[in-house]
C-alpha cells in the first residue's frame, strides 16, 4: 500500500527540504553526549590492553593499593562472555571474554580494568599492572588463515573459519557459450570506522530499585539491553539503556561491547557510576574494524557483452570474535547474496569463507558488504568490456535489469521493487559529459592522465524477518512500532525505538506526522534512544529507519488523527468523516477548531466530552509492516572524472556525479546530506583509509597521523541528480538511502583510474589506491615493456 503523498504545496510535510530541527542544538553546543554527562561519585575507567595479537596469559600482577580499583577476569565473577552465533549450518561459535583470562586473540583486547577519579589517573594505574603473555604465532593474513599449518585462533576449532558457504545456480550450463572469460583478484583494505565521537558508556546502579541504567553511545539501545541483561544475568526490567546524543554511528555503534559489560558489572559491585570513554588510540588499534575482503572472481560474457555467468571465491577477515548481535556471518553471507548487483545473470556460483584472524572483530560499516561487492563486480565488468572492446556503458546497458522487468527477482532471489536502472546510467553519463572527457583524453599529454569511471548498484534497505531469520543471528527485525501522544497544549510527542545520530529523524519523522495530523514540526518532539520510553526496536541500521520508523510514525499519527477527529467532530457538531486536519486545525466546511483546543478539551475539560467518548484518549502506539519484507531497493549510478599523476601516483578527483533514486523523498535536503556524507566515506575507502597489520598481528596505524581520513580538501563538489520512483512496498513510497553514498565511490574511482591507466595496459585491483600502490601498478607496465 502506498499512501498518497501531498504535493510540494506542503511546505513542512513530506517532500519539503525543511531545515533540520536538531541542528540548532548541535550547532549551538547544546548536544549532550556521553562525554558531557557527569555524575556524582563517578569514576573513570581505563583498560590494560593486550600488546600482543595472540598468546597465552601466564600471569597478571596488580598493585596492592588502591583497593577496589583494579579488576581482572578473576574479579568479574558470574559474568558471561559475549556470544553471537549464527544458526547457519557449520557456524563455529566464539566466546568474547569481558576481560581476557587465559588467552588474548588480538592487540587491544582488554585484560585489566583500572578505575580512578580521572582518566589520566586511571591510565597511571594501568602502568602499575604487569601482564605476562606467552606469545603464539598469529594469523594476520586472511588468505593464509585456512592453511593446514596456520595457528588456531580458537584452539578447539578445526580451522580458522567461522562460516563457509556456497551458492550455485545454473553455473556450468550458463558459462559454456562465453566469448570472453576474465579473471581478476581484488582486495579491499581493513578499515576503521571513524565517527567523530568514539564509543562511550556510563553505568549507574541503583541499589534501592536494583536497576541498572546505562548511558551508551549506541545505535541499538533495545538490543544492547537484551545483550547486557544476558551477560549480567539481570531481568530485562532491571536494565534501562539510554542513548543520548550520539556523534555518528555507521555500524561502529551497533555492537555490544565488552567494555560496556565490564563497566556495568563494576558499577553494580562498587555502587558508583562508572564511565568509559573510548579514545582515538583505543579505537584505531583495539576495538573493531570493518571492510576487509578478498575476491577471486571470473566473469563470462557473450560477444555482445551479455553477462552469462559469474564465479567467485571470497574471503572476509572477520577477526577474532563474532560480534553481538550481527555475528561473523553477516558480511560473508551478504557477499554471496548481493554480488550479482543490479544485473541479470544466467549462472552464478559464489563460495565464501568468513575467517577468523588475530585482529579486532569486524563490524558491518555503512554499506556493509556492498562496498566491496560493488568494487568487485564493477571492476570485473570494466575488465570484460575492455576484453570485448566495448565501452563500460555498453556492457552495463546490456545487463542492467530494465524498468519493464520490475519488480524483478534476481538470481539470488532478491526482489528489486522498482526503478529504472538504465535511465540512471544515461543521466550520469550525460551529467559527467562522457563525450567531452573522451575527446579530452584523446589529445592528452604530460604526466597527468585523465580517466572516467562508473559504478552502479542497488541498495536493499529495511529488509526484515524473511531475510534475517534465515541467518539465525541473535537479532531478527520484525515489525516496527511508534507512539504518538498529543500533549495538553496541542504539541505532539512521537516515540520511536530507532535512534537518530546524524540521520535527521527528529525532522523527517515530524514531517511525516505533519502530513497526517497537521501539527507544526516545530511542535513535534521526537523521543528516541531510551528503552524506558520507546517501543521495542532493533534500532538504526540497514537503511531501515525512514521506511520502518517512518511507516510506524505514519500509522500512529493516522490513528491519533482519527481520535482527534472524533473529539473535533463533537466540538463542531458534525460527522467525523467531515473533518480534515491541516496546519494545526480541524476543519469541517467553514467551521473549525484548533487541535490545541481539542487537546485542552480532552485533558482539562473532560466535562465537555460526550457520553460515547472513546476513553483511549489522545495517545496511541501503532505498528507497521511493509507490504512485503524483502526490502526497498534504492539504486544509484556514480560517475567520476579523475587525473592520475603517473610520476607521483597521486589521484585527483576532478568531477563527481551521482544519479540516485530514493523513491519518495521525505526531505530532499536530508537525502542529499546522506548521499554526500556517505560518498565522502566512500572516497576514504577508495583513496585513503587503511588499517595495516604486520605479520605478528600488530596494527600499524594507531593514530590519525597514520590512519588517513578524507578531509575537506580531498572532496570535489558532488553533483546529485534525483530520480523518484516510489517503492510499492513502503507507506509513502520512500526507500532506504542511508548507506548508498558509501557504496559506489571505490568502484567508480578505480574504474576511472583504470581508464586513465589503460594506455599503459595496467589496472589497479586493491583499495585504498595509495600513491605507492598506483606507482607499483605503473611499474608493472614498465616491466611489461622491457620484457
Amino acid at each position: 500500500m502506498t499512501t498518497k503523498v501531498k504535493g510540494p504545496a506542503s511546505k513542512k510535510g513530506i517532500g519539503a527540504s525543511l531545515s533540520r530541527q536538531e541542528d540548532d542544538r548541535y550547532l549551538n553546543g547544546r548536544g549532550k553526549f556521553v562525554g558531557d554527562i557527569k555524575m556524582q561519585g563517578m569514576l573513570e575507567l581505563a583498560f590494560v590492553r593486550s600488546p600482543i595479537a595472540h598468546g597465552n596469559i601466564t600471569g597478571v600482577t596488580t598493585p596492592e593499593t588502591p583497593k577496589d580499583r583494579v579488576f581482572t577476569a578473576k574479579s568479574l565473577c558470574d559474568v558471561k562472555s559475549i556470544k553471537a552465533d549464527s544458526g547457519l549450518p557449520g557456524f563455529r561459535s566464539s566466546l568474547q571474554p569481558i576481560l581476557a583470562d587465559e588467552k588474548v586473540r588480538h592487540v587491544g583486547e582488554p585484560i585489566v580494568a583500572c578505575l580512578a577519579e580521572s582518566r589520566a589517573r586511571a591510565e597511571d594505574l594501568c602502568e602499575l599492572v604487569t601482564v605476562e603473555i606467552d606469545e603464539l604465532p598469529a594469523v594476520s593474513d586472511m588468505r593464509k588463515a585456512r592453511d593446514k599449518a596456520a595457528p588456531l585462533v580458537h584452539e578447539h576449532w578445526e580451522e580458522n573459519v567461522f562460516l563457509e558457504s556456497c551458492v550455485e545456480t545454473d553455473f556450468e550450463a550458463a558459462k559454456t557459450d562465453a566469448a570472453s572469460v576474465v579473471k581478476r583478484t581484488f582486495r579491499t583494505a581493513r578499515q576503521c570506522m571513524a565517527p567523530i565521537e568514539g564509543r562511550g558508556v556510563i553505568a549507574l546502579w541503583d541499589r534501592h530499585l536494583e536497576m541498572l541504567t546505562i548511558h551508551s553511545a549506541t545505535q541499538i539501545p533495545h538490543i544492547i539491553r537484551t545483550g547486557l541483561a544476558g551477560c549480567l544475568g539481570l531481568d530485562h526490567g532491571q536494565v534501562r539503556i539510554i542513548a543520548p546524543d550520539v556523534g555518528g554511528g555507521f555500524g561502529f555503534k551497533s555492537q555490544l561491547l565488552s567494555e560496556e559489560v565490564c563497566a556495568a558489572w563494576i558499577a553494580m559491585h562498587l555502587d558508583r557510576p562508572i564511565r568509559w570513554l573510548e579514545d582515538r588510540r583505543e579505537h584505531l588499534s583495539g576495538t573493531a574494524n570493518c571492510r576487509e575482503h578478498y575476491y577471486e572472481i571470473t566473469g563470462y560474457a557473450g560477444t555482445d557483452g551479455e553477462l552469462l555467468a559469474v564465479d567467485c571465491e571470497a574471503i572476509v577477515d572477520a577477526g577474532a570474535y563474532s560480534t553481538y548481535p550481527f555475528s561473523a556471518c553477516l558480511e560473508s553471507a551478504q557477499i554471496a547474496s548481493i554480488l550479482p548487483g543490479p544485473y541479470r545473470l544466467k549462472g552464478y556460483r559464489c563460495k565464501t569463507w568468513s575467517v577468523s584472524t588475530n585482529k579486532p572483530p569486524l563490524l558491518p560499516y555503512r554499506g556493509v558488504a556492498r562496498t566491496g561487492v560493488c568494487f568487485a563486480i564493477e571492476l570485473l565488468l570494466d575488465a570484460l568490456a575492455r576484453d570485448l572492446g566495448i565501452t563500460p556503458e555498453e556492457i552495463r546497458r546490456k545487463n542492467l535489469v530494465t524498468p519493464e522487468a520490475m519488480p524483478f527477482v534476481n538470481i539470488t532471489n532478491k526482489y528489486f521493487d522498482s526503478g529504472d536502472y538504465p535511465k540512471a546510467l544515461s543521466k550520469a553519463l550525460e551529467a559527467i559529459d562522457i563525450n567531452s572527457i573522451r575527446k579530452e583524453k584523446a589529445s592528452q599529454s604530460g604526466d597527468k592522465l585523465t580517466g572516467v569511471g562508473l559504478s552502479i548498484f542497488c541498495e536493499q534497505g529495511a529488509h526484515g524477518t524473511s531475510v534475517y531469520h534465515g541467518w539465525g543471528i541473535p537479532m531478527v527485525p520484525g515489525f516496527e512500532q511508534a507512539g504518538a501522544r498529543l500533549t495538553p497544549d496541542g504539541g505532539l510527542e512521537l516515540r520511536v525505538g530507532v535512534h537518530s545520530h546524524g540521520q535527521g529523524l527528529e525532522t523527517t519523522l515530524a514531517q511525516i506526522a505533519y502530513d497526517e495530523i497537521g501539527v507544526d514540526p516545530k511542535k513535534v518532539k521526537v523521543v528516541h534512544g531510551d528503552t524506558a520510553y520507546t517501543p521495542y526496536s532493533t534500532g538504526t541500521w540497514g537503511s531501515r529507519c525512514i521506511v520502518m520508523a517512518g511507516g510506524a510514525v505514519g500509522a500512529a499519527s493516522a490513528a491519533l488523527g482519527d481520535r482527534i477527529k472524533h473529539i473535533a467532530a463533537h466540538l463542531l457538531q458534525c460527522g467525523r468523516e467531515d473533518i480534515t486536519l491541516e496546519d494545526g486545525m480541524a476543519h469541517a466546511g467553514k467551521s473549525s477548531v484548533s487541535i490545541e483546543e481539542v487537546a485542552k478539551t480532552w485533558y482539562l475539560k473532560p466535562q465537555q466530552l460526550p457520553d460515547d467518548v472513546d476513553p483511549r484518549g489522545l495517545e496511541v502506539t501503532e505498528g507497521y509492516k511493509t507490504v512485503q519484507d524483502t526490502g526497498t531497493f534504492s539504486y544509484a549510478c556514480h560517475a567520476v572524472k579523475v587525473a592520475v599523476d603517473i610520476k607521483s601516483g597521486n589521484i585527483e578527483l576532478l568531477d563527481y556525479v551521482i544519479v540516485e533514486d530514493a523513491g519518495t523523498m521525505i526531505n530532499p535536503m536530508i537525502v542529499d546530506g546522506q548521499v554526500v556524507g556517505g560518498t565522502v566515506q566512500g572516497i576514504g575507502t577508495a583513496l585513503f583509509e587503511e588499517m595495516p597489520f604486520d605479520y605478528s598481528g600488530q596494527p600499524l596505524a594507531s593514530t590519525l597521523a597514520d590512519y588517513h581520513l578524507p578531509v575537506a580538501g580531498d572532496i570535489p563538489p558532488v553533483r546529485i541528480t534525483h530520480m523518484e520512483t516510489p517503492s510499492p512496498l513502503s507507506r509513502f513510497g520512500q526507500k532506504g538511502i542511508g548507506e548508498s553514498g558509501a557504496i559506489g565511490p571505490p568502484a567508480a574511482i578505480a574504474n576511472a583510474v583504470n581508464d586513465a591507466l589503460s594506455p599503459l595496459g595496467v589496472e589497479v585491483s586493491e583499495i585504498p589506491m595509495t600513491p605507492e600502490r598506483v606507482l607499483s601498478v605503473i611499474k608493472q607496465s614498465e616491466r611489461k615493456q622491457v620484457a
Binding site: 602502568e127 588510540r281 597521523a705 580531498d714
Partner: protein, 268 residues
Amino acid sequence: MKAAAFDFSRASDINELTALKEGEKFVAGNQSLGPMMNLRLVRANRLVDIATLPALRKANEHSNHVEFGAAVTHAEIEDGETPDPANGWMKKAAANIAHRAVRNRGTIGGSLAHADPAADWVIVLTGLDAKVALIGPDGERKVNIEDFITGPYTTVLKENEFIASVEVPKRPTSACWGYWKFMRQVGEFAKASATVLIDQENGFYRCALGALEGPPLVLPRPLDIIEGDLGPKKAVEDALSVRKIASYDMHVAALERALEQAKEGLRL
C-alpha cells in the same frame, strides 16, 4: 591517551634555559611534544614554556641575513610579520605547513629541534642554506643546518642547549626557487620533497631532497642538475644509493617539479 602528570612553568629569563634539571624539558608550540606526551612516548617532570620569551620571539633583519628567533611561529612568517630574506619563499612555505591551528602555535625552532625528516622547515631551511644559533651552558655556537640534523628526530643539541635563532641568508630578487612537496592531503606530512635554489648573482646553487628517512640530502653537482647535464633521476639515484633507500620514484618527481618551478622563475 592522557599524559602522565607533569609540572608546568613559563620561563622568564633566557638563563633559566641552560640550567634545567633532570626530567625538565622545553616546550614551544607543543604541536609535536604534546601528542607524544599524550601517547606517553615522552615524559617530563616539568615543561618549561619558552614560547613567550622575548629574546626568542624577535625577528631581525641584518645586512646579509634575517635572524628568526626560535619561538617565531609558522603563522607569523605566513602573515608577513617577519622580515623576508628571500622573495616571499618562506612565507609561502609557512602557509603550507599543517593547518592554521597548528601554525598558530608551532615554531620554527621547535620544528628544527624536533627534526622530523618530513617537516617543512627542515628541508626548506636546508635549501636556503640557513645557520642555527645555539646557546648552551658552554656558551653560544652557530651550526650549518646540514650539520645540525644528524638523523631522524636527532640533532647536535647537547644537554641544556637550545636553539636561540635561525639565520637565513638574504637572496637577490633575481634568485629563483623551487619547493615541491608531495602530500596527498592538506596538513599531511610530505612523502617526498625537494628544493632548488638558483642564485646566479652570488654563484650559489643548491638542490636538496627531504622526507627521507634521515636528514635532508644536499645533492652534489647542483649546477649540472640545474643546467640539465645531470638528469634528476640519475642525480637522485646516485645520491640515494649511499643511503640505501629502495624506492625513490616520488623523490625524482619532487626534484623534477622543484626544478621546473625554479626554472620557470628564471625565464621571467
